[in-house]
């Protein structure tokens, strides 16, 4: 399962089949007027058939940028993929010619976005926009594409699909619009679906409906789902595995139950303590202190060290494990768990 060039073993996929997508040491930079911004700094993971991998992180952690890199929709410039491989069904997308890459988007890997209102073109009907998938990739006629669009809208449970197929995005409610996005993304039965904060812009009740729909559709199609989110609740409910990102790196990876049950990285631990939990009544919420990292000047050593309560430096640190000087690699800490912390064992309490 692990590749030779990969510096770390790939994550164990729980209850899933063969790997479909393999991201290896992905690095993305942005060239800005005020210097280089290192948005993604060596991210590796695999997604298998039927697996739901949650990528968890705050704004600026690089979770969306890495997803856009996989989709091949980063604006270049200012973005640049400086290294890494994105292997989809045995082919490295980054080495494919643009035209071949394009053919993967849609039938191979598909994506839905956070704000469906701005992600859908306001001047075309939703039927047209869903139908475009068939017309662009299969050369389907306009009329037939519209029929497919109606079927898809029914599949994502949009009521009165036949009547609404000619409506425009602004005529739908937020939840229905997100369903339109999902219908569009699923049009060509992709093997991988990337959902970038799919429910953040929605009401809480609608969030649950949309997540349920996604889970059902995944069960039906067996696709791999990459769920990008900062919402720990959503991760807990729907994901199999989770990768926690900080400052463009994965800092912890494992199954959701294990990672959430007993974090191996102080950042994950901080995240757990910063949200209210039903089980722990009466305890106080503890926000993570300090500022999110500046990606143009990522702290030396462990990027989390300025905010880390367990930081060790100088005489306190073990040789080669100084939090301020040495970058902690993502390593196996216990079976099925990887973390990028010099003192994971201590955090875990093993």
């Amino acid at each position: 399962m692990s590749t030779a060039s990969s510096s770390v073993p790939t994550s164990p996929a729980r209850g899933a089949g063969t790997p479909i997508l393999e991201v290896d040491d992905l690095r993305v930079q942005f060239r800005t007027g005020s210097g280089l911004v290192n948005a993604v700094n060596g991210v590796s993971y695999t997604v298998s058939e039927g697996e739901t991998l949650a990528i968890l992180g705050e704004s600026g952690s690089g979770k969306s940028v890495s997803a856009q890199a996989i989709m091949g929709i980063l604006d270049t410039p200012p973005a640049e993929i400086t290294s890494g491989r994105i292997v989809f069904e045995g082919r490295d997308l980054l080495t494919l010619p643009e035209e071949e890459q394009r053919k993967v988007r849609g039938p191979g890997i598909s994506m839905i976005f956070q704000d469906a209102l701005s992600a859908l073109n306001p001047v075309y009907s939703v039927g047209f926009q869903i139908g475009e998938m068939f017309r662009a990739h299969r050369g389907t006629s306009r009329k037939e594409a519209k029929q497919h669009a109606v079927e898809l809208m029914e599949r994502v449970r949009i009521p009165a699909a036949k009547e609404r197929v000619n409506d425009y995005p602004h005529q739908f409610s937020g939840g229905m619009r997100q369903r339109v996005m999902i219908a569009m993304a699923l049009a060509l039965d992709p093997r991988i679906l990337i959902a970038d904060e799919p429910t953040t812009a929605l009401d809480v009740t609608v969030q649950a409906q949309v997540m349920d729909l996604l889970k059902d559709l995944q069960r039906d199609t067996g696709m791999g789902l990459i769920l990008i989110t900062h919402d720990l609740g959503v991760v807990n409910e729907v994901a199999d595995n989770v990768a926690v990102m900080y400052a463009g790196r994965i800092v912890e990876r494992g199954t959701v139950d294990e990672v959430f049950g007993n974090p191996a990285h102080p950042y994950t631990d901080g995240l757990m303590r910063s949200i209210p939990q039903v089980e722990v009544k009466g305890g106080r919420l503890q926000p993570i202190g300090g500022q999110p990292p500046n990606l143009a000047a990522i702290p030396s050593g462990c990027p989390f060290h300025p905010r880390c309560p367990k930081r060790r430096t100088g005489a306190q640190a073990a040789p080669g494990r100084d939090c301020v000087a040495d970058v902690p690699p993502l390593r196996l800490v216990v079976p099925g768990r990887q973390a990028a912390c010099h003192y994971s064992e201590e955090v875990l309490g093993v």
Binding site: A119, L120, N121
Partner: protein, 307 residues
């Protein structure tokens, strides 16, 4: 959508009436006696003066004169000038020249303005973008009067490519004045297109279009251009109305017998009926095309249609 159009239409009526009354008042409420001016150096016989005064309702209060004028206008009667020639004849004789001029100008706006704007917007801050920015600033800074002489001197006299006056060579005669007339709007169209394209290129739905794996051509034409050109198309539509009224200088310098030239001559000769008739018509054309643009906007952008 019907209600939207009806509302816009109703709003135009007071504007049309107001503008024509404003010109009417300016022309007729003036001190000075247009009928005596007509006689020039030789004084007219008192009987003739009385007859003309009566014919043009010059003894009525101003508002009554206007109401009478309006009544005639609604029956298609634009009145006559002091020499007894029907104003409507002058208009129908001069109008085709101005329409031709406006058509050529609009064609330049579309051909040069939009193409330059698209090329500049797609590669913002690139070489071509900077060329467009500098040249449009330059064009905007040159008064149309000066531009007309530059065009006459270089393309007409020095290079001998185009006629510099008159309409004797059909459409060909309109190329140079059309370009001059279009210049300012052309620069604006280029800039508007550029800004709009550059903005839309970063829109979320363009990113979606790329994520859908659409061919690059579809991403640009269908999802970037289509949206970006909405403000451009509406500007050009409204500009038709503006160009018709703005052709005075161009028609004068290039000696084109159009409506602009006619109104200018009438103002100088204090031919009240001709001035009011033509200006009312120009205002109508201006308002009409603005109304067309409002409807066009609703057709092009469904968000407005269903407001």
């Amino acid at each position: 959508m019907g209600r939207y159009i009806a509302r816009r239409f109703l709003l135009t009526i007071p504007v049309l009436l107001g503008a024509s009354f404003l010109i009417f008042a300016l022309v007729y409420a003036l001190p000075g006696d247009p009928i005596r001016a007509l006689g020039g150096d030789r004084p007219l016989a008192p009987a003739v003066v009385a007859q003309l005064t009566d014919e043009f309702n010059l003894n009525d209060p101003l508002w009554l004169q206007y109401v009478k004028y309006l009544g005639d206008l609604l029956q298609g009667d634009f009145g006559t000038d002091f020499r007894g020639r029907e104003v409507i004849d002058t208009i129908s004789q001069r109008m085709p020249v101005t329409v031709q001029l406006a058509v050529v100008a609009i064609a330049f706006e579309i051909l040069i303005g939009i193409v330059a704007g698209v090329l500049a917007g797609i590669r913002k801050n690139g070489f071509f973008d900077n060329v467009v920015l500098v040249s449009t600033t330059l064009i905007v800074s040159i008064p149309i009067l000066v531009l007309a002489f530059i065009a006459q001197f270089t393309f007409g006299l020095q290079l001998g490519l185009f006629p510099i006056a008159g309409v004797n060579e059909g459409w060909y005669s309109f190329l140079l004045p059309g370009l001059v007339l279009a210049a300012g709007s052309l620069a604006y169209v280029a800039r508007l297109t550029r800004t709009s394209i550059a903005e839309n290129m970063r829109a979320d739905y363009v990113r979606t279009a790329r994520a859908k794996g659409l061919p690059r051509r579809d991403v640009i034409v269908r999802h970037t251009l289509r949206n970006s050109l909405i403000p451009v198309v509406t500007f050009i539509g409204a500009d038709i109305g503006t160009l018709m009224g703005g052709a005075i200088v161009t028609e004068t310098v290039f000696n084109l017998p159009g409506i602009g030239r006619a109104v200018f001559d009438a103002v100088r000769a204090q031919e009240g009926a001709v001035v009011v008739g033509i200006v009312t018509l120009l205002v109508f054309v201006f308002i009409f095309f603005n109304l067309v643009v409002d409807v066009l906007y609703a057709v092009l952008d469904p968000r407005i249609r269903y407001e």
